[in-house]
Symmetry: C2
Subunit: 633 residues, 2 copies
């Protein structure tokens, strides 16, 4: 761990660096004529201190055994880029030339494509959660590493910040130092006028230690950081600053929260900072492709996946148990084994229902209770996945995805490695009723570009995809209902998915026929097969595909489905936004023509036993058979 | 306002009522063999006190000039239904017979279909926000009315609760009394073990007064409520209770958080409460249709909409200004006019960017600053809309919808009346970059069954739909980008949308042709028309439809589009989840066959000037023309 001694020489160097970096930041905004200069200046002391003190370098920043720096007020990106340039992560002239330039990694809000940026933010209130995720992962890996978080004052009221504070405390994280740029100005004006908040009281109410510092005096900042490191609770350092510090006409002016200084004002700013005209220097780079930064990726987990468990076809089992048993199996196989990747299972007070209680019992050290705080949990778990652990967050669909949708979107943007297990999806929530029915999960994840979604057909497939997902890098969602079911059997009467290897994106033909095709999502496959049997007795032959990867259209299956002329999609999901519409869209794009019928959820559902709720929604096997009879000529 | 004097007679009646209502609640859960009995019992004193003290009756509960009672811990519905039965809102035997019964309004979590339920919850942490919405609406309407909120202790850490506390304080709301059922047990066990939280400190840190009471002693509860009413800050009354109170084997047992007492245990419970076997009594109702409750609706606002403003076709204007000018116009026309419906405009620190600053200046009393607290703001505004005001919340798309998606889902379930204005949608966010690009709003709202979505084509249509939406009941979203544009002109060169009446769900043909059809969403229509002009010079005739209501497929337009054989959809929205897929799905269902091409966003976008960002995404007029040339034979 780097020491925190500030020599006079170091202090002088840093004070010079402030002027240099401030001028770069102001130049970036001037060049783009867009951006947030004043907050970048007030944060500059904090940026330079954090990246000096933290053990993060251009060399080690792609590894995960190091300190972390998370920037929560991502709109002060010019300040961050300038500090990173000073420490050699990026080229300052490239940053000036490419800031907010189309195609460049120097986006308006910090992204991980820039080396040294550990979390892409811009949506405020997320940074502390990401930092808690990193701090937790480092602690669980047994590493004595620090995480530094820079925040703005305007974002302090975001509820997610308070949630993250509590997770940090309940997890006993002492390796986090938060530095707040307390400049009293947010975009609409003075913080106290927009929404009065007692920032100090809020942190103290959640058990954090609050220290204060002069945010424009390195001695004061380093002293605060040293004190923070010595304390045995997480600490927030309230750094009193002046927005726009160092450029007279920007100081304490809300106007410059998001306005560039151009022309003579730009020259004046450079003069006041004692710096040259960097715009001319940057222009000398001439016509070149923008700096695209680095590609961040997640390494494959080192895990023993054990032997798949096969559930007999004559005994009803729920997919939740298929998941929970496999998770506990993999957990206990790897816990305490040297070199294995820690599997951290996150819970929001539903372990019993989402079947992670067994894992919690067998691997208590890898179980993370976050309380009823879904927004923060989503980000904490997502960030942890970027730090060489495999985070698994199991929750009801409405809480893990609908409630935390934007957090999952940002996990996608950050290229994290979350295993999100949604139970009680669709109408299969038992009697809980409409507020608990997650009928939009396919839609929500299909807005992303990275998320994989698997809706297992039965407990045997659930067991296998659970083991597969734990090792597979990237954000992966498993979605399943609550009810028990008979595992599917093949022609030979044996458990079908015990022998079928899982390939992401492959649909499985589970019934042959040429009059019509049913594309059934996940566990709805059983209903589709029952409907098929009903129709077979009436001489109608229906092809049935089990679709467990709705986001990935299996064109071969789609082609064969459309060839029957009639396609019925079956899912307990909103009728117009689920698997059916994704697959119909692909068919339309391919010019594959057929008559489609979309069976799904067309109103908020009832509260009652699941089978009755399905009946009432018109999704029973009989209803499917009737729909097909009406559809066929 | 009802007095708070508790006579000995009243006290005795209420104590009898507790036994009676507790037995009904236990019976509901026993009959359904599903539900949450123990929390219903610990809350029973609070339910009976709140519905006694509040001026809400079976007669006035459909009106909006009354007190409100919001239940945040919606899973204790049996307790709520029992108290409502005691006060004559519902029939107790029907509640027992229909609780969690398919098709009935007595859902597992409270819904507004039951008279006396003012907010459908079940997703925890929402109740206080809804209460703040009601309290704010009542205050702005000049009514001296109280709002009572019942909460659980397990939900206290939800960040949204803290956000709501701050809005209540900053809005000077003194007409809220929160009652927390502090029974120390949540579903996974003891609150202190799941996530240690200093509940008292949290409320005090946000400036609330904290009072404590014995939650099983009416004298103590009424005394606390009287003190609360007398204080000039919002008050939380921490009511110390025992989960399962009154039934020995349920008392302080986490097990009964969500488990029914059946058979002999049920009989024992009735004996201990000194009550008969209600299951037999309920069974006597015999075979009957379930109780479907009431239909809640929102009345049409009483507003003077003024004279539409027409923007000239030779001057670039942004749709945001079209909205902001119309809003300020309607606001100042109605402010202070007797009998007019208050228009409350909510802001999360972006008034300047979302163009509500003019309204704030002209109608400061109707402008509500909520700070950077989107989750709570969404619910506060949504609930206010159920209380005879027109709430308008303008925010960036990613904050107003992606961040608050689940809150907007619950606004839909609650049949509220929010006017959600999303600016900076699509790729049109200026240089802010990927985190700020809202490319999923069509998808998110298409998961709902009530939300209307309008994506205006130009400033003239924006002006007209803004005025229309302010008066139209229900949840309505307007979505628009950031850039300026030339308003569309008709054949006569006059502003097209100045003369076209707005009809929700109607697509407008703005270009004739038979070789191919472009379905363009909102402001993308301009690019479609440019592409059409390019192709026309090459002898290709392209039909162009302006689609401003993507959720409502105009079958006539779709039919004509498909008749050209080739359909190109154009939207700066995720390519597989937007207007294109909704309309292609409808075509597939109708058996309308064509070759489709979906032009949209296929990766996270760049940070740069909007026109360059569109180019880079392949959505420029030239790119559209090229796509069509490749598509056509």
């Amino acid at each position: 761990m780097k020491d925190l001694i500030l020599t006079d020489k170091k202090k002088m160097e840093l004070e010079e660096a402030v002027k240099r970096c401030s001028s770069w930041a102001v130049s970036m905004v001037a060049r783009a004529n867009s951006g947030h200069p004043a907050g970048s200046l007030s944060s500059m002391w904090l940026y330079l201190a954090a990246y000096d003190v933290a053990d993060i370098t251009p060399k080690n920043c792609d590894q995960t055994d190091r300190d972390y720096v998370v920037i929560s007020h991502g709109h002060t990106s010019p300040g961050a880029y300038a500090a990173l340039a000073y420490y050699g992560f990026v080229d300052p002239m490239e940053a000036i030339a490419d800031f907010r330039r189309c195609g460049s990694a120097f986006q308006g809000h910090v992204e991980r494509a820039i080396p040294g940026i550990d979390w892409g933010s811009g949506n405020l209130g997320q940074g502390l959660s990401a930092a808690v995720g990193y701090a937790l992962a480092l602690k669980k890996r047994g590493l004595d590493r620090q995480v530094y978080v820079l925040m703005g004052d305007g974002e302090q009221p975001k509820g997610q910040v308070a949630e993250a504070r509590r997770i940090a405390l309940s997890q006993g994280l002492k390796n986090i130092t938060v530095m707040v740029d307390y400049n009293h100005i947010q975009i609409s004006g003075r913080v106290e006028r927009i929404l009065p908040v007692n920032i100090k009281a809020l942190w103290e109410a959640d058990g954090w230690a609050v220290l204060e510092a002069d945010g424009h005096d390195f001695a004061s900042i380093y002293d605060g950081m040293a004190k923070a490191r010595a304390m045995d609770v997480p600490v927030v350092l309230l750094c009193h600053t002046v927005m726009g510090k160092g450029v007279s006409f920007m100081e304490d002016k809300p106007d410059y929260h998001g306005k560039a200084a151009t022309g003579d004002l730009y020259k004046q700013a450079m003069d006041e900072l004692g710096q040259p005209d960097w715009l001319e220097a940057a222009a000398k780079l001439g016509d070149r492709a923008p700096h695209t930064g680095r590609h961040v990726s997640v390494e494959r987990a080192n895990l023993e996946l054990g032997i798949p468990k096969t559930y007999p076809v004559d005994k009803k089992t729920d997919n939740r148990s298929g998941f929970g048993n496999a998770l506990a199996d993999v957990g206990s196989l790897n816990l305490g084994v040297a070199g294995k990747t820690p599997v951290l299972v996150f819970d929001c007070d539903l372990a019993g229902s989402v079947k992670t209680a067994q894992f919690a019992k067998e691997c208590p050290g890898w179980f993370v209770q976050c309380g009823i705080q879904e927004h923060s949990t989503a980000t904490v778990a997502g960030a942890a996945g970027c730090c060489s652990v495999v985070p698994v967050w199991a929750d009801f669909g409405v809480f893990g995805l609908a409630e935390a949708y934007n957090q999952q979107r940002l996990n996608d943007i950050n290229g994290s490695n979350l295993k999100l297990v949604l139970t009680h999806v669709g109408l299969d929530v038992g009697e809980d009723g409409m507020t608990h029915q997650c009928i939009d999960y396919v839609s929500l994840l299909s807005n992303s570009f990275g998320w994989k979604l698997i809706v297992p057909v039965d407990p045997n497939q659930t067991d296998r995809v659970t083991r597969w997902a734990l090792k597979e890098p990237g954000n992966i969602c498993l979605a399943m209902g609550r009810s028990t079911m008979y595992p599917l059997s093949g022609q030979d009467g044996e458990p079908l998915f015990a022998s079928l290897p899982f390939t992401y994106g492959k649909a499985h033909k589970v019934g042959e026929g040429e009059d019509c095709t049913i594309l059934a999502m996940g566990a709805m496959t059983s209903a589709a097969l029952e409907a098929r049997a009903i129709l077979e007795r009436e001489g109608k032959k229906v092809k049935v595909y089990a679709v467990s990867c709705p986001l990935e259209v299996d064109m071969e299956a789609l082609d064969e489905a459309v060839s029957t002329g009639y396609v019925v999609t079956l899912e307990d999901h909103c009728y117009r936004t689920g698997m059916g519409s994704l697959w119909a869209r692909a068919a339309a794009e391919a010019g594959l023509c057929a008559k489609w019928s979309f069976m799904g959820v067309h109103r908020y559902g009832d509260s009652g036993p699941s089978d009755q709720v399905y009946d009432a929604m018109g999704l029973s096997p009989l209803a499917v058979a009737d729909r097909i009879k009406k559809l066929l000529p």
